[in-house]
Amino acid sequence: MSRFLIPAAVFLALAGVLYVGVVHSPNKSTMQSVLLGKPVPAFSLPVLGNPGTMLTNSQLAGRPWVLNVWGTWCPACRDEHEALLAISQQNALPLVGLVWKDEDNAAIDWLKQLGNPYSVVAADRDGRVAIDFGVYGAPETFFIDSDGRVQYRHVGPMTQEVWNREFLSRIPKGALP
């Protein structure tokens, strides 16, 4: 009997490995960001709706902020939009939008229609800045600390739960308004 149990035993061990693989995969996507702990990539981009003004990373230095990468072409961004609106109501952190490879007018219409959760939105038309951030698909959200270092990367739609667990918790004590 025993030797016939070997396949089942091997399979059980394998299932354990696969389980760890699945459960770890969200961590993996954060670990894969080589930027963690590194200074935020330097950028200078036109502000959406006001292309004469530029937004640069240095303007944002000095306090923690959040960068959310989105596009009107991205269905999952529509999914997370409501959560972002709710989050922006709480005014915990400045929410900077990076509209990725998109038409300015489409992005402006979208914000008019669905509401604007962002303090400011930078237009990354050719997607260069998103590449510097190592973005591989919208939406992605980054937490940047007051020293201008990337501390966390979330891949996929933002939810209130992720926000509370991974973003709010990273604000240093006493820095909350």
Binding site: M1, F4, L5, P7, A8, F11, L12, L14, A15, G16, V17, L18, Y19, V20, G21, V22, V23, H24, S25, P26, K28, S29, W73, C74, P75, R78, K101, G127, G137, V155
Partner: protein, 652 residues
Amino acid sequence: MIPELGHFALILALILAGAQAFFGIAGAARGDARWQAVVRPAVAGQFVLVSTAIGALMYAFVNFDFSVLYVASNSNSALPTFYRVAALWGAHEGSLLLWAWILATWTLAVAILSRNLPTSFASRVMGVLGFVSFGFLLFTVATSNPFERLLPAPADGRDLNPVLQDPALAIHPPMLYMGYVGFSVAFAFACAAMLEGKLDQVWAKWTRPWTTMAWAFLSVGIALGSWWAYYELGWGGYWFWDPVENASFMPWLVGTALIHSLAATEKRGVFKSWTLLLAILAFSLSLLGTFLVRSGVLTSVHSFAADPTRGLFILGFLIIVIGGALALYAWRAPLLKSPAGFEGTAREAFLLYNNIFLVVAAAMVFVGTLAPLIADALKMTPLSVGSPYFDNLFPILMLPLGALVAVGLHAAWKRGQLGNSRKRILLGFAAALVFGLAIVFLGYGPGKPLTPIGVVLGIWIILSSLIDPVDRLRRRLTLPRAIIGMTIAHIGLGVCILAISTVESYTVERDAAIATGETLTMGRYAYRFDSIKEIEGPNYGGVRAEVTVLRDGVPITVLHPEQRHYWVQRSTLTEAGIASRWNMDMFVALSKEVGGGRWSVRAQLRPLIDWVWLAAGLMALGGVLATTDRRYRARATASEPALAQGSAAEAT
């Protein structure tokens, strides 16, 4: 409206699949004829419903219904009709629906063709298939609904991933799934035999054509994927040991072992529990392949999205299906007895060696593919073995296997005297040696150490496969399709070894930055970069270069490599320029503009590369021919005299 209809049909199909599983398995266990009578109508109904669902999604694609999220994400108004249909399986949700539909189709075929099998056995087979179908449909409905609406509807869709906009890749997933899912039939036959507690040679005869057919589809599917990677990804290779390629290759290796061990079980009643295990393994690896691709646990060029919920669902399903089957195996297999032994040089023995090599090769690929996961689970540093591991180990296993094929083809069942055949074997080997070494040393020049071995072996297998059929013809004996099929498939193996050995040793490759008017020389050949022009396609723009190939200074052909920019997805894709000759491919791909009108290009001369895919085609053709052999079509089966030799081990 139509998408909701499709969604509704899918939910009904789920319920019917549950009924099919329950009444099939429980009905056979209780011996209740009325319960078992439910099974076939349930199969037919499920087929109609899943067809309705897939038809509804196809309708949405063809009619640009961007209010369906899946259509909006994977199609676009500029996408040509052919790709709008193929876009259906361009991403996760649609792929699952295709999987379910193909399973429904295979099950329908089983329902129709199993009328001559004992009722309880057929019910159990369809019951197990219903269970698998239930799991997949539940997964689709619960986590991956392809009919989800996107309201308000966007004006236009995001377009199909440009990488997938290619004829070979459009039909690659259906072929691959025909193979994957086809192994579910062998799996169901194995589970039914274990539930029944009875496995005899007739069982092997029923199982063989289904397995061989699935294996043939899988061969074609893998070859199409490889061919696509060759000309579309612009790397110029035909196999990259990418996790997703490996995921399809593992079931193929085990499936190859299975069709051989089934032959031994049918002819001689041996290897029963081993055959059962292989049938479980082949389908388990197919499921695992789906899991690896769809859960995103391994990242590769193919993975579209990582989603842990889906990953956990598939993992749970794997544990129930595979774990359940293996538990059943641990319980029932000890009761099966294999009769009389055989000598070490009998055909059975050669099939056993074949199985050992194939399964070890599959295990080797398995370990290499899952190494990053295993390292992660054991908290070791992330580890990815990469192609050197595979490139070094795989030939070590395959070359001895090739030699075993060349010799084993002449071995007789049961008794080991190679006797008369010995002269033929040696003659074949001598001819292959002369031929092969002539090709290597006179034709191409010495390559790597393994090159002459591979070439000689390839030729030896081809000659060896031909000896018996030619002999039969000379003696005016009939040549059944099973033997023709086997011969063709083995020739395919020989061609494959020959082609890979050649291509791996004699490929000439150069990467260079080159401007128009300049020439790149590779031995007797030269590539002249004539011009580069803007082009425009239906949903892309880009550039096309004209490259003239010269041999000894004489123009022989013109290549047109392209670089395309797909507007909607904003991605850039390489279309290699390839000219195929019977003995080599001339290949050039544009990689990027480096400034000053110069382009960095990859130029290659690849001898015999098309023979690799020809070989896969031969194997598949052989499989199809063997499946259509008359003896499988013969009506009798249930009434066939139970083959003696103490094969039917009743379990209690």
